[in-house]
Amino acid sequence: MVRTNDDTTVAAIRQWLGEVNDPEVPVLSILDLGIVRDIRVGQPDSSQSTPVPHPGQVEIVITPTYSGCPAMDMIRMQIVAALNQHGYERVKVTTVLSPAWTTEWMSQEGKDKLRAYGIAPPNPLQQVCQIRPFHREEAVQCPRCGSYHTSLISEFGSTACKALYKCADCKEPFDYFKCH
């Protein structure tokens, strides 16, 4: 994922990006979400054939979760602000659409943080994404009591990436980060 034309710099930038959180699910960093696709650092003596940033410039390549995700503009601003703070004045944020983002790119740490926050983390991809109406519901585990005795309230939740469930055991409603 990371183009290592300067390992130390890239590692440092990566660490700073880990402090940029998703404004809509603030418990997740953009690294946990898996939307950072590449970190490119401009080299004075670059001889690479692929287009690289100018010397002193840093390019962060991100991909949106959903096409209409309103958090993307905010995330772009936060990336620039975070790197400016660490002395990088020339920061370029590029958005790519392909390959399309999937919840498979979410880190295990991210999934654990989600659960602790009260949002059920996404199931592995193969379970879902069926086109048929009234398909068999996914087995989603309640993030509060751990029960699988849960049911779907609505396929669309408070943000594009979540669905609304309720738990039949602890009786609490909860968000499920949809497998995508």
Partner: protein, 269 residues
């Protein structure tokens, strides 16, 4: 028509379909029958408008890169040093420049009509995007791949509602049939190719629309069967929207959607 002109028109057509349906759906925000479905339709609107933005950005890029004539009303790169933007394409074109199909501009009516409109469109859009993903234009293929995943949700959600209403109470069944009467005549246009669609299909960018038709019919029949609705017989179909000949409904949308940018050009908030 040169190749890039057709590609620009095709990209604008894809953008306009998503923007206009997204705008229509957004009219329900705050008015949905129950909170969960209000949120569902608003989320679908958000997906569609996000897809439209991706297509408009690409159309603007093509116009700027090829020094193509900008659509009417927009100072193009030939006379204006500043490049055409996605916002100009959405907010400054007039009705006859919009290339959305007639189906998506139809009024919301009741919940049944909104649902059926979404179902007809999603059944079309998912098959289209599936094929567009394999097309020769890399940017359109990437947007389509991303949007297809979202379209699956829209199709499943609207299918379930068509079944729920069609197979529900006497009143919901009647309303579904009324919606069908109003909307069926606009479905033929989905698979009637315009010259720019023929040209992009020939170039291997988009699919031949007639090839998508059987899949669409199969999906509609399958859902109608479960919903207890009869698949309508062949009738005269209205067309023209994709070439800028619209029903009166589009004008009302544009009047509301474009007012601010026309009255206060370049306004930001």
């Amino acid at each position: 028509m040169t190749h890039s002109t057709a590609l620009i028109q095709y990209t604008l057509h894809l953008a306009d379909d998503s923007l206009i349906l997204g705008h229509r759906n957004s009219e329900w925000t705050g008015h949905g029958p129950i909170l969960e479905q209000d949120i569902a339709l608003s989320n679908i609107a958000l997906d569609l408008i996000g897809q439209a933005r991706n297509f408009y950005q690409y159309a603007a890029e093509l116009i700027n890169a090829g020094r193509q004539p900008a659509p009417r009303n927009i100072p193009g790169p030939a006379v204006n040093p500043s490049p055409v933007t996605e916002d100009q394409l959405a907010y400054l074109r007039d009705g006859w420049d919009f290339k959305n199909c007639l189906l998506v501009e139809q009024t919301n009516g009741d919940w049944a009509k909104t649902i059926l409109r979404q179902f007809f469109f999603s059944a079309y859009q998912t098959t289209l995007y599936e094929r567009l993903t394999q097309g020769r234009d890399k940017t359109l293929a990437a947007i389509a791949a991303k949007s297809h995943k979202e379209g699956i949700y829209h199709l499943r959600w609207s299918s379930e509602w068509v079944i729920r209403l069609g197979d529900g109470t006497e009143e919901s069944h009647t309303r579904m049939n009324n919606a069908l009467d109003e909307l069926w005549k606009f479905t033929g246009e989905l698979h009637t190719a315009t010259p720019y669609e023929v040209e992009t299909a020939t170039a291997g960018i988009g699919p031949g629309l007639s090839q998508l038709r059987p899949q669409w019919e199969e999906k509609v029949k399958e859902v109608f069967d479960e919903a207890g609705l009869s698949y309508p017989p062949a009738i005269w179909m209205q067309t023209g929207g994709k070439e800028g000949r619209h029903t009166e409904q589009l004008g009302y949308i544009l009047a509301e959607m474009q007012f601010l940018q026309r009255a206060y050009p370049g306004c930001e908030w």
